[in-house]
């Protein structure tokens, strides 16, 4: 990508609990992105991810016309021109990638959201779970550790299951000990994993009883990279989930960048 100074450039920064993301857009095109693990200095993380995104786009801070920050770390983002909640940003990002989106399941590092949109990408209703780790990236990280596999391999492994071993607990701590007992009993890891994914999907579907499900259903957040979770959600929600061609983990940051374009375009 070459530098085009005559076209205004906008950035979105999404400081999540486990990862920090940034996306750069201009003239309706995505120019670059950055994704780093979230450390203890929230402000620094945002700036680092932003710099990384700028590097991939071969741009500098001076090229940016407007920055929108989102995610739980948005409250420590003095570099941003404006902050917007991740709920609105995910809606904008999903609508940008797939305008037919009416429902979003966002599963992030430490919370999980159900968002309903109208045809223009406006949020009409939402529900959020952040009282417990079930249905979040953190839960899956703990499970990957129990099975001694990489986080990215959890989903594909679950898809290999021939049977399902029901998991009674979605509490991270109890699910971990329940898994260890199931493994000790000789149950196959893939069957247990399928049970785990289904237990989470069932729990997440509880949020949809409050907001409803309408097609197209869009899956965003880091957990959306997990094919096992996608399959389990499709089964439980009885709805097809559309597969965007863009990294689902970057949807919030992309939405923030789209909003930056909306605000900054007027400045």
């Amino acid at each position: 990508m070459t530098k085009e100074t005559h076209k205004p450039v906008f950035a979105g920064v999404d400081v999540g609990s486990l990862t920090t993301k940034s996306v750069i857009v201009s003239n309706g095109t995505i120019l670059g992105y950055g994704l780093i693990p979230t450390g203890i200095n929230t402000e620094e993380n945002g700036l680092k991810a932003l710099q990384k995104a700028l590097d991939t786009a071969k741009l500098t801070r001076d090229d940016l016309k407007y920055i929108v920050a989102t995610g739980y770390g948005r409250i420590s983002a003095p570099y941003a021109n404006k902050t917007v909640t991740e709920i609105t940003c995910h809606a904008k990002g999903a609508h940008y990638l797939h305008p037919g989106t009416r429902t979003i399941i966002d599963m992030g590092g430490q919370d999980c959201k159900a968002i309903r949109l109208d045809k223009d990408g406006n949020v009409v209703d939402f529900a959020m779970n952040d009282k417990c780790a079930a249905g979040t990236g953190r839960f899956l990280e703990v499970m990957a550790n129990v099975f001694k596999v990489k986080l990215n391999d959890l989903g594909p492994l679950a898809l290999k299951a021939k049977e399902i071993v029901p998991m009674s607990s979605t509490c991270t701590v109890f699910a971990e000990s329940e898994t260890i007992s199931l493994l000790a009993r000789g149950e196959k890891p893939e069957n247990i994993l399928k049970g785990i994914h289904h237990a989470i999907a069932n729990r997440v579907s509880g949020m949809f009883s409050r907001v409803g499900v309408e097609s197209d259903v869009f899956f965003s957040g880091g957990v959306a990279k997990n094919v096992g979770m996608k399959a389990a959600l499709e089964e439980v929600l009885k709805a097809k989930i559309v597969a965007p061609e863009y990294d689902p983990q970057l949807v919030g940051a992309l939405g923030a960048a789209v909003l930056a374009r909306n605000y900054g375009g007027k400045v």
């Binding site: 609105t88 209703d125 959020m128």
Partner: protein, 395 residues
């Protein structure tokens, strides 16, 4: 610009504990009360001093209360037990009798506990579940009659219908004034915030009722002189939010502060610690029957079952208030284990959806661990409303 009378009310509340203690030294008796359906007019007309008890927002008191009551009771109830266990709240300290009605049954349980553990002198007023049926109404009249008899014994005084008529007149004036105040807070460029009116209502839990009424008249006079007759309209684009659901008692500022911080403007409520108790009180005759019928026909507390959505007075009232104050969305506050309001969240949301009014449920407790999570929800809700107003975010 701060209204002079608001400062005066604040000062009066500060002085009230001392005033009460002195009145008691001179022989006056204080009736503290909890819950929703205690008819203050009767307490007042017997020459007793009514004080509405209960505070919120303090997790320390909840912990203390939880030593005596199950943790599966809501934090307000646990905190109320904590108030009696600790016995430092000046109004609890100065109550010679604690009256509790059986509307919310968790609070009714508080009466049993404080009597058992802390030897508090309590008086119970039964409340019918079948409050819309003639049998329920008869039951409540008899309950108010028995309640009055016990109060008479306590006061050493008989209820007199002429004195009762005077008390009713005073309380009607208070109720009318509070409704007028609500109109001022809801106008464009309002001279006082909803939160200030909410504080004025809470001042009325404590102050001498004649003094309170005269302060309300003074406040309304000040408002009229400076700002004329309130007219709700010409909205300037604020995200106008209505608060409903579980009790938000004095000192519980958690949700209110978050809503204000994320740019929401509260313009009304149907809380039973807010506007609701003053609505639809039509006392047809100065008698026990007149009082009982009026109280049971008010907007009901959610603890009373009402299964027909079409005629549910609580929902009808909510819809009307949303229109009156031109609110654009409802934040429905539910305390964990406050079953009456939590169970009704879903149906309330569905009913309002048909009216085109979005509802966000915030389920919380007094601990601060969920402040950020609530902030994100409340902020997203404000964004949703502002977006609807086409103010800031455009697709």
């Amino acid at each position: 610009m701060v209204l002079e009378t608001l400062k005066k009310i604040e000062e009066a509340v500060k002085e009230r504990p001392q005033e009460l203690a002195e009145a008691r030294k001179k022989g006056a008796k204080v009736v503290g009360w909890l819950n929703y359906n205690i008819p203050e007019e009767i307490i007042h007309s017997l020459g007793l001093i009514p004080i509405r008890l209960g505070t919120g927002g303090d997790d320390r008191l909840v912990e203390i209360g939880a030593r005596y009551i199950s943790t599966k009771n809501c934090v307000y109830v646990r905190g109320a037990v904590g108030l009696f266990a600790e016995n430092k709240d000046p109004y609890v300290q100065n109550s010679d009798l604690v009256a509790v009605d059986a509307t919310c049954l968790q609070i009714y349980r508080v009466a049993e506990l404080i009597k058992y553990y802390f030897k508090v002198n309590t008086l119970i007023l039964g409340v019918p579940r079948n409050f819309t049926s003639p049998e329920g109404q008869v039951y409540f009249r008899k309950e108010v009659e028995a309640f009055t008899q016990k109060l008479e014994e306590f006061a050493g005084n008989k209820l007199d219908n002429n004195t009762l008529a005077e008390s009713i007149k005073l309380y009607n004036s208070i109720r009318k004034s509070i409704k007028e105040l609500y109109n001022y807070q809801a106008i464009d460029k309002a001279p006082l915030k909803w939160r200030e009116v909410f504080d004025v209502i809470h001042a009325g839990f404590y102050l001498d009722r004649e003094r309170y009424n005269s302060l309300l008249q003074e406040l309304l006079k000040e408002l009229k002189e400076k700002h004329g007759i309130p007219k709700i309209g010409n909205l300037n684009g604020d995200a106008r939010i209505f608060i409903s659901g579980s009790i938000i008692p004095p000192k519980d500022t958690k949700l209110i502060s978050i809503i204000e911080k994320v740019g929401g403007r509260i313009v009304g409520d149907d809380l039973w610690s807010g506007l609701n108790p003053v609505l639809n009180v039509n006392i047809k005759e100065p008698s026990i029957k007149g009082i009982a019928d009026a109280y049971i026909n008010r907007v009901p507390h959610a603890a009373l079952p009402y299964l027909d959505l079409e005629t549910d007075r609580r929902l009808k009232n909510l819809k009307q208030l949303i229109k009156d104050y031109q609110a654009q969305g409802v934040i429905y506050h539910t305390l964990r284990y406050c079953d009456p309001f939590t169970f009704k969240a879903g149906e309330t949301k569905d009913v309002l959806k048909k009216e085109g009014v979005p509802l966000l449920e915030i389920h919380t407790e007094y601990a601060g661990s969920d402040v950020e999570a609530i902030r994100t929800r409340a902020e997203a809700f404000v964004e949703l409303i502002k977006n609807k107003n086409n103010l800031e975010i455009e697709a």
